[in-house]
């Protein structure tokens, strides 16, 4: 494909994407396809000879599109909003078009310096003090792994440079609640801690960590000869948007030299609203924080912004310095390869830079406030219906709800819940995620897709009643 062919194909593709998004409301939200059906339509062997762009575009329409669950749909209320605003797409297109790799500052200075600037913009937007330094990672899962590795190395005084984790006498312990994201336990296990040393700290009735329980567990572990290493606190848990009390947790963490990581992957976006910042009061006492700009905020996936208090420690844990990566500029510049797991890095800052500039901070704030207002509205509607229950405080844009017809409970109620949500999802009219809460299935309504207006939330509420009754 030469330059002119790219222009022609590129223009067609831009229109294809605009058409997809402009007509998205008429499409089913959840893909209506059976396991293996898409694979069966694709050749099992690679093409020996070039195919035309027309053929590829045709397969996009007939094979790929029907197999897509539309996260950008205005009636997508599943998992979490994963907005990719147009401006952010364009920023990412430039990144691919330039095709530069950030191995070192010198390997593309703008890649590093725009990232430095834009993550500092994010810091300011989130209301974090200037004692934080940021870097863009792919995901919160990876960032939490980085945080726990850094915790491990601080606690062991860089055991990795000696005999590694096996030579540490006292077992290291990590603390979180049962409502922490699944990636927290995964990261702890991958970092080598072992399930036996991952403590589930009790939570209160709002599903938030009890700091006094944390303190007691830490003291017990110390008394037992173990070494408390890290606590992961969550601002806005996945299931219910519970808010772990960061100020109290950080006091406990500091008193015992425990690393504190704050998982604000989803709810962190809301910290651009001054009226929401009470939710992570105490965050300044943490050692690391993760906020996913690729969720509610609107930067197309992947764009996780990871903040640390001690970048020198991060670099000491992550750095490598082979001769082929050394340049004359080293020492005067940031080499972000030493701030995370991968060596190679895309120019990810562009999509965030484009997004913030095209929206302005006020544009982003306005949309998030709209979504919070829609969630409040739905909460009122549901609360007014005696057959429905709102099961957790509606802090931001996620509701935990259940249809509870008289007489139904236990397994029968679970069957009813999973039944109506499956029917609704299969209808293609909207998409919701069921989840367990306190031992019983319920349904999460996660509001905040870019295109979701009040009318779509009202449509969802009608659909919920229709499919549940």
């Amino acid at each position: 494909m030469n330059s002119d062919e790219f222009r022609a194909a590129g223009h067609r593709l831009i229109d294809w994407i605009a058409d997809y998004r402009a007509t998205i409301e008429s499409r089913p939200v959840m893909a209506q396809t059976e396991p293996g059906a898409i694979k069966a339509k694709l050749p099992a062997t690679p093409p020996q000879h070039p195919e035309s762009f027309d053929a590829v575009l045709r397969d996009l329409d007939t094979i790929v599109l029907p197999g897509i669950t539309s996260w950008q749909h205005p009636r997508f209320f599943g998992y979490f909003p994963s907005n990719g605003l147009y401006a952010s797409l364009l920023g990412d297109y430039v990144s691919s078009g330039l095709g530069v790799i950030g191995l070192a500052w010198q390997s593309s200075p703008a890649l590093t310096e725009v990232e430095e600037v834009v993550v500092d913009w994010m810091r300011q937007m989130l209301g974090l003090s200037d004692r934080w330094s940021g870097v863009i990672n792919d995901t919160a899962s990876t960032s939490t792994l980085v945080a726990l590795l850094c915790a491990r190395e601080r606690t062991t005084n860089y055991g990795l440079a000696r005999g590694g984790l096996q030579e540490e006498a006292a077992p290291l312990v990590v603390y979180a609640t049962a409502h922490s994201h699944s990636s927290v336990e995964k990261a702890a296990l991958l970092a080598g801690f072992g399930k036996r040393h991952v403590r589930i700290v009790p939570h209160d009735s709002s599903h938030a960590m009890r700091p006094e329980s944390l303190e007691n567990m830490i003291k017990d572990d110390i008394a037992d000869g173990l070494k408390p290493c890290a606590v992961v606190a969550t601002t806005g848990t996945t299931t219910t948007t519970a808010l772990d009390p960061l100020a109290a947790i950080s006091k406990v963490a500091r008193a015992h030299g425990v690393w504190m990581h704050v998982d604000a992957a989803m709810a962190g976006s809301a910290m651009i609203l001054p009226e929401c910042r009470w939710m992570w009061d105490g965050v300044e006492g943490a050692d690391s924080v993760i906020v996913n700009a690729h969720k509610w905020l609107g930067a197309v996936f992947d764009c996780a912004v990871y903040f640390v208090r001690d970048p020198e420690h991060l670099v000491r844990v992550m750095s490598t310095n082979p001769s082929y990566l050394q340049t004359a500029a080293d020492g005067r510049v940031k080499n972000y390869r030493d701030w995370g797991l991968p060596l190679g890095r895309r120019f990810r800052a562009l999509k965030l830079w484009f997004l913030i500039r095209e929206q302005g901070v006020e544009g982003l704030q306005e949309r998030l406030r709209r979504d919070i207002g829609n969630a409040k509205w739905l909460e009122q509607e549901i609360s007014a219906d005696p057959q429905w229950k709102v099961l957790a405080p509606v802090v931001l844009q996620t509701l935990c709800v259940r249809h509870e017809p008289p007489g139904l409970q236990g397994d029968a109620l679970d069957k009813h819940t999973l039944g109506w949500v499956a029917r609704l999802n299969e209808s293609g009219a909207a998409y919701l995620t069921p989840a367990m809460l306190d031992g019983q299935w319920m349904v999460r309504v996660s509001i905040g897709a870019e295109l979701t207006e009040r009318e779509h939330v009202a449509q969802l509420w009608a659909l919920m009643r229709q499919h549940a009754s």
Copy 2:
């Protein structure tokens, strides 16, 4: 930005990218900028109000472009080729445009099934048997970390589900050579092994691992009460494209129950050429292999294809299964979230799918053969000049060379080498990476950017002589 504004801006941006690439030869290869100069041109605080797309595009031209080191330039001979062919850009643009996330098969079935098909195409193209299963990761660094974590868990029989690495009595050991990529040691340290348990296996005069030394080290470690865990063998080392003898290494690894990971991040692309497959003869005896489709092959970064022999083991190490990720399709489908570190996943398969279809296997093969031919040509030119030395076998597209004027050696020779390559790089006419080989600086010439033709290699050779003399 609404749909029509996106069409207009998108078309302009496609043209901007086509213009950048069409005029790339007239630009300097290495960015001619000082540390901090780009940052100084950007506002230190985020914009409160929306800015126009014109303003963003203007900054792209005046601030970002001058700060770019052009990896797509036909006279880019640094690091490794990081080709992003037009077709692959378009595939990635669709991925961003759709904005879907692969948390589970159901969260976008096509994302999973196209990936299954296209990684299997890659497997066939590379000549691997059907006993391998593949998945797309971001980078080789991450994939090597995954491999060593899987090795750790196989050796400890899933210690992560019990007390973790600290409860293992015998220290685990990892083996590689001094010519392994820097990410190997980094991954070993992050996986908890500790520097003391990372063995540097001696290499022969071609910088390839000595399997008999590996065997002796393993035996010594066992005798000392340690537990050999993993060996990382490289097909095409970063510095010299050295080829570790996989067949002999796998024999040793199997005899001692040691996990064998093959790092073919760069040279793996060449395995689509049947005449090159002798280079990784014995690869079938490995447990895991990484090939970066985002290097020479031409899929825009990031697109690392990771192959394993035992996907069930991989899933057992990586899986999480919280209620909010469970769907009715589980058990009948692949949930790729359990095949690697991150939970969220982009639709990365599209860029590889577009690339392979637009090029055809033969198109990809033809370009790689062109590059190998260009490397052979340059090798002959350089070998014919008595002042120049080719320091390692030219196996693929990388040459290790040094200008050795009579009488110069030791530090003086190093100073000369670093001097002329810095002058050449700073001129903007071409870009090369210096590296250490056997204690002395030399220069790597890595051929294989998409636009690099014989004439550009000839221009480079003239520039090298000019700046060295």
